[in-house]
Symmetry: C2
Subunit: 81 residues, 2 copies
């Protein structure tokens, strides 16, 4: 499911992350939520999985700028899936 339909609150519940963390990962260019006309972020189930993966990598000692390559590769792959 790559359809971006859920708000940050639901993503928070699904990932266990804080809104701060989610927004920061977006700021670091690791996830790319859509936006409603009002500016609210909309995420997909894939984004949820990706966010969990990001957090795991960070826990393992990686830095956001290092994840960019790995994550982007995942992204490029998921595009033609």
């Amino acid at each position: 499911m790559s359809r971006k339909v859920m708000g940050i609150g639901m993503v928070r519940e699904l990932t266990g992350l804080t809104e701060r963390q989610i927004r920061y990962y977006e700021d670091r260019q690791l996830v790319f939520p859509d936006r409603t006309s009002g500016g609210a972020r909309k995420f997909s189930f894939e984004d949820v999985e990706r966010l969990k993966e990001i957090h795991r990598k960070l826990r393992d000692g990686f830095h956001t700028f290092e994840l960019r390559k790995t994550i982007m590769a995942d992204h490029a792959h998921s595009i033609d899936t």
Copy 2:
């Protein structure tokens, strides 16, 4: 996808229905969204399909109380799917 994750605004976009119609169908017991602690409705992709189906049936002349049986049957079926 039976996970109830999206707000009524997204459902409005995905179904083309108005919030009024969506809330009314819930009032008529044709869809059963979850609620956030704050009271906001949360729908699943299945709910989106169901809502479209409901609207089609209404367009064809059925009434909400008649749909209840049909729809409920669909619901009972989707539970063990």
